[in-house]
Symmetry: D2
Subunit: 473 residues, 4 copies
Amino acid sequence: MKERNRVYSGNDDKPKEACGVFGVYSTQEETNAADLIYMGLYALQHRGQESAGMVVSDGQGMKAHRGMGLVSQVFDRDSICRLPGRTGIGHVRYSTTGASYPINTQPLMGRCSRGFVAVAHNGNLVNTTALGRELVEKGSIFQTTTDTEVILNLLAGFSKVPLDEAVVQTAEKLSGAFSLVIISGDTLIGVRDPYGMRPLCLGKLDDIYILSSESCAFTSLGAKFVRDVRPGEILVINREGVHSHNLKPAEKKALCVFEYIYFARPDSVIDGLNVHQVRKELGRQLAKEFSGEADVVVPVPDTGISTALGFSEAAGIPYDIGLIKNTYVGRTFIQPRQEMRDLGVRIKLSPVEKVVSNRRVVIIDDTIVRGTTSANIIHLLREAGAREVHMCISSPPITHPCYYGIDTSVRKELIASDHTVEEIRRFIGVDTLTYLSVAGLQKAVQQDLHCLACFGREYPISISPDDSKQEEE
Amino acid sequence: MKERNRVYSGNDDKPKEACGVFGVYSTQEETNAADLIYMGLYALQHRGQESAGMVVSDGQGMKAHRGMGLVSQVFDRDSICRLPGRTGIGHVRYSTTGASYPINTQPLMGRCSRGFVAVAHNGNLVNTTALGRELVEKGSIFQTTTDTEVILNLLAGFSKVPLDEAVVQTAEKLSGAFSLVIISGDTLIGVRDPYGMRPLCLGKLDDIYILSSESCAFTSLGAKFVRDVRPGEILVINREGVHSHNLKPAEKKALCVFEYIYFARPDSVIDGLNVHQVRKELGRQLAKEFSGEADVVVPVPDTGISTALGFSEAAGIPYDIGLIKNTYVGRTFIQPRQEMRDLGVRIKLSPVEKVVSNRRVVIIDDTIVRGTTSANIIHLLREAGAREVHMCISSPPITHPCYYGIDTSVRKELIASDHTVEEIRRFIGVDTLTYLSVAGLQKAVQQDLHCLACFGREYPISISPDDSKQEEE
Amino acid sequence: MKERNRVYSGNDDKPKEACGVFGVYSTQEETNAADLIYMGLYALQHRGQESAGMVVSDGQGMKAHRGMGLVSQVFDRDSICRLPGRTGIGHVRYSTTGASYPINTQPLMGRCSRGFVAVAHNGNLVNTTALGRELVEKGSIFQTTTDTEVILNLLAGFSKVPLDEAVVQTAEKLSGAFSLVIISGDTLIGVRDPYGMRPLCLGKLDDIYILSSESCAFTSLGAKFVRDVRPGEILVINREGVHSHNLKPAEKKALCVFEYIYFARPDSVIDGLNVHQVRKELGRQLAKEFSGEADVVVPVPDTGISTALGFSEAAGIPYDIGLIKNTYVGRTFIQPRQEMRDLGVRIKLSPVEKVVSNRRVVIIDDTIVRGTTSANIIHLLREAGAREVHMCISSPPITHPCYYGIDTSVRKELIASDHTVEEIRRFIGVDTLTYLSVAGLQKAVQQDLHCLACFGREYPISISPDDSKQEEE
Amino acid sequence: MKERNRVYSGNDDKPKEACGVFGVYSTQEETNAADLIYMGLYALQHRGQESAGMVVSDGQGMKAHRGMGLVSQVFDRDSICRLPGRTGIGHVRYSTTGASYPINTQPLMGRCSRGFVAVAHNGNLVNTTALGRELVEKGSIFQTTTDTEVILNLLAGFSKVPLDEAVVQTAEKLSGAFSLVIISGDTLIGVRDPYGMRPLCLGKLDDIYILSSESCAFTSLGAKFVRDVRPGEILVINREGVHSHNLKPAEKKALCVFEYIYFARPDSVIDGLNVHQVRKELGRQLAKEFSGEADVVVPVPDTGISTALGFSEAAGIPYDIGLIKNTYVGRTFIQPRQEMRDLGVRIKLSPVEKVVSNRRVVIIDDTIVRGTTSANIIHLLREAGAREVHMCISSPPITHPCYYGIDTSVRKELIASDHTVEEIRRFIGVDTLTYLSVAGLQKAVQQDLHCLACFGREYPISISPDDSKQEEE
């Protein structure tokens, strides 16, 4: 059914995040890991809405429950009660590699020579093809199209060494972005790639250890944030406590700057910086680079909000709510048979006429991918009477695709890959268009530790030709 | 299944709105009323999430599709295509009278002596018991527990007079709040009670007439707002155009002030005032009545946002995002077996620690019903390090139940019905608690036209004892 | 979805039965009427697979649960537990009047001047149009397209007289076939029309009274068969026991002979005759009228089985299983894109080659409606090697439509309405075709009490032109 | 939900069959393998109702669709259209090994060094544990708990040899019962274990080759039966036609005799014998061994029917329908709160009182597993007035569990494993109880080629202790 209804997803024209991962380790008899994972995945839902799953270990065996859809659709009381155990991992997913099929839901679980192992993965490998080829030549067989199954098979191959050693050796073979949570026996392991591309952090609820893609999940559980897992760190949590191994360090860090710009929840703290504060700072930087005059600063909800607050403060232009988002717009919307301009935007956003009418409006958004959504938003604002519209974008133009787990579409769909800012301005129909400079961006994140490949800078990890195009199922 | 999972609805501790109604009239062959109603109901979804439905007339017969759940759950491409016709009405519902059963979904449709008639109703009658008694004594039979079926039966009784006359005579018998949309043959009729309790307005898309509870639905369709339907007005739309009848005027108007405070979407204009602007003005009034000092103004999302902006502006205290709402929290959330304080709030709201930590925080909300949610929010803020918390509420204390269609719970659940402000302040755990005064409220809405019964003022329409308690199924 | 898949229903080319009704009355605190009705409807499932429902009274109020589909699809543990009470009625439905929509599921329940009343109906009225016209002129409104709502409204109109009197007066106004079960307060009433067209019988389980369309439901519950409800009898069951009223007798009885030929379950006893035994007798009569020679008698399952046994015994030709029915064939079967002859039959029936190959086969079926299914069956038998095929039908040719609740399609679809037996024989492709004579049929049922209208004899109740065509929704 | 409702499955007390497999090979552009597999699985539905699935190859890639439930529930028009290709395999499953989880649905598909391979399996291996251990030590990882995944992994290991050679080498390592269908590239392969335990046969529809567990599926498609796949034969179907390889022959054949007694559809021909005819012969043999006198022979439907016909013929006692089966009894039936004796049987079977009352009844069934169902049936017959009841069973007593794919429950649940016939007779409550002798059974199947292990004879393939108990997930 769904396939037939043309879908106007709320975020059609936005980069898509890969996944969120979550892990729980407890030695307390009374802990129900499934309960905590359920709540954690709820808090990480923004990182992936396509499928959700968890695997829980009761020390001897493991059980999995996975499905397509939101956490609230995949799990109910029954499915959670059928997952007893104190240690477990969970995953929410937006497909990057691996087509959108039930078989590709994570975490993956398997029995190998050391018993049951389960893995959940956030990120994208860039040497999957080579690794897969090597494995199938040794007799491995792949039932899914996910990177994760490659990781699981590598892990199964290191059958003679202790678990933590096997994880280290597996991770050494991986190239690309990976934040992993792994369980085997009664051990929980967190892995973050040496570039630190995708986030991962450690929290604690009483005596229970928690790993999460973002710290926002800790607040949901009433848990405390302990620290970020460091790039290249392998964190082993078992009866003996928490121990670290370190992978060979990368030449430089390459944290994904889009976590701050767009993906992460504003209340999360990633690698020491609060996302909301970073966005406000992006807004302040953007205000410095904006040379126009205006009466009101209006965010495109939701990510534009923090940025617009910073912009308003720095520019001295009042902030106001000029666009209302219909929060009930879900994954399907039926296309009317009557032709209707801007439909995709109209069902999601409505202008507040009193705020924009006859005003010079600065509209704040985080990115422009294809440009069509932006053009539609501007059309709505003009229809509502805006006298001038100045668009300010809190990231530099995206000119290059990401191979590390962010689905910024193929290159030819990136409007900035073959159009000048002036051309984009005209396409979108704004009076001025201001992109944040790379320098401004770097100032806001206060560090020189980020991957800037999608803005045309060097790809920190080289991509093999085989992996530069998506595999089909 | 759902009944078993304990539900943490996002708005458990808020007044519940009755319904939204929507109607379409077109003489153009190519109009698919169902498409337009679908989009209109999507835009009115915030007015009722329990069920949705529409009835479309093709001039000869009528077809209905109704179901439990959101608009996106009730309708798909197939169900819409099975509703051909140019004229129709739609409804979204949150039960006030009429238990939450499929049979009670609206619009109601029936065949009577003049052929098919369908009615959708927003509001609550206060003389249903008497009307129903009269009807059953004449031989009527009621298959639902809705006011709407009473209206339909009254209408069927006036079989000898023209349709518009029958609607007038029916409406004259009704006491209480009612905004109705009615279709019969190829006529669309809108009715608003003489007190104007519930809103209703007229829009136009090319040559198509539209009736809607709120103007926000017009923007979704690219339609123009024409005007509000006046209290006591009966608007008849047919081949001859738009004609009005007027019911006997009420002594005074009694528009529901909660449409501005809480229910309506900020982009709607109701009875001449934009909701977002009214909320900002409520914030400004509230700031005048707030005597404390603070470092930051933080809204409880979503309705607190506009109000907080006005407050911040008038009080000269910076506005910031201190609470993040998890927009994925739906109707069901599974209660964890592990005890967890403030769970209901934690899954929905998270504090941004950097914003509130070590600060004196003014927190802006629209109402306090039972007080438990407020107490939990305050606990979260304190846990995140807020030094002082001052709560400002953009309505006066709700001391009396509403009988006109707003489910503010029974009296004994209204904390303000038997506790002083100081007692409530202590219960909630804030340093100061400021309710907007009735005078301040009236200034913000700039008119003396509103019902203030729930704040302890006179009930504008007297309630019979039979109707003062909910009927059970 | 389902509507799009072309449906090969198992009984596409058979008359369709209207409904089954079931009622329970108990004075014992511990009786759960819903449990018993559930089991009773399961046993009556063959009488209607389109929808199922029940209404249970707890003495004060009533609750209903109804839905589209089989009993096992409509009810689960939860829905049954939400229907507390000692008295109730149930219904399974195959639409005759009333289009196949959820709103038309039965029993219908309503509140009228005497409180809640619920009605379930098996049969078809022939004066609905006139009754409906009368009612809407008095102000009634119809929300469904069922006869049952007319009955409910009539009943509500007799508000001044005791319940049993109201039922008598209502029934006196009805013309056509009707077996009704009605509850109001704590009274259960069974009604059978004066012609006795549709069956209804009384059973007892300990102190619990049961009404059922067929006695087979008693066995399922371990209840005892007490007696048939007599044509024209109104059976009132309440605290004072069981009492009868009698409607004005019909000139002659007109029991539906198709209950024996095709509809009823073989283990049921209807009006004193066991269905299986009647079918065997039909087979014996048919054998007398068959003049050919053959090697084996093969039934078309399932109804042909009993008949074939009688035929075999009387004709002295061995009985064998020559066609196997796939019992998993449900309501939907997806049409293959590859052309395939006889598909509708192939998925449902397979010949046993060893039984029919090189043999002279007598194939026994109960009716021929359009003839296409029969032709396909014969083709299968010939393909499996049958040397001769002689078809024997245990009813006379159906030449006229039924207006009393059996959906034998419109007249032009009845092959026997405008073709001779010889033409039909050639169309079907058999060596000989023998229909049972009307005289033979009457001998088998041992009485002159049956309606023979569909075989071209007099319609026992005259039909108004308005009611001779199906109403559309 | 379903898990909570106590289930009265129609066949609770019967041996459970493992699976049905089906394969299609075509070189014709216009063939839609998915359509044919869908119809084939429909015809094999009796072999497994727990899950269904298919994998189709378009020559380059493969696509799978699998799900829990009946064929009609798992597939719809959309899912079939998303499986383009001319070659494919399908599977229906009743779990024997591998718990009843979605992940265990078949066919399994994987990518290995030779590209995509898919396998569907009927039967049960007895050396899975050893094979699995060997594989995981080499680094394999198992994501399901099925034998089939072991087979898939073995196959992937033979990466250097041609496909048919790899299948031969894989099959040589397998011990136990296995009928396999395999696709890789555009080749379809059928494999039958050297003992021939589970059936497999070859058919042809025009130029399309078909493999099926039973020949009944050919009739559904209008295809011709070509021949049985021989025990130990590997049938390779590709562009060059059909070629055979032969596995090392077993010392003796060990066809499963229960295919004839109970599992297979009566219209199937297995290893040269028509199932219906074998059952009639079983009835004739049983009649010879029955020494009592009786008035009527009554089958327990459905499998008892053919047997009873043979019995009646040989014993000269009339055959009649004494028990009616409710064909609507599905997988769930809600247990009533009211205590009810024999409920499980009552909802499924009803006696025809006129047939059994005051008669000496021979009741024919195929097996007794736990004995409880038989006891309940007898109670129903006695309640209906049977004067004497003589039970005749068309198999010898089942005293030993099956390890080759038939779920005859664990030994302690087999009533005949520790009770004499006399004890069982008394438990069931019959006047006499006659089991068919092993000699009689062997005469009916006319060959000394069958496995008789469950009747206490030698297990043809020895079982390792590891595999004698079911693995848990």
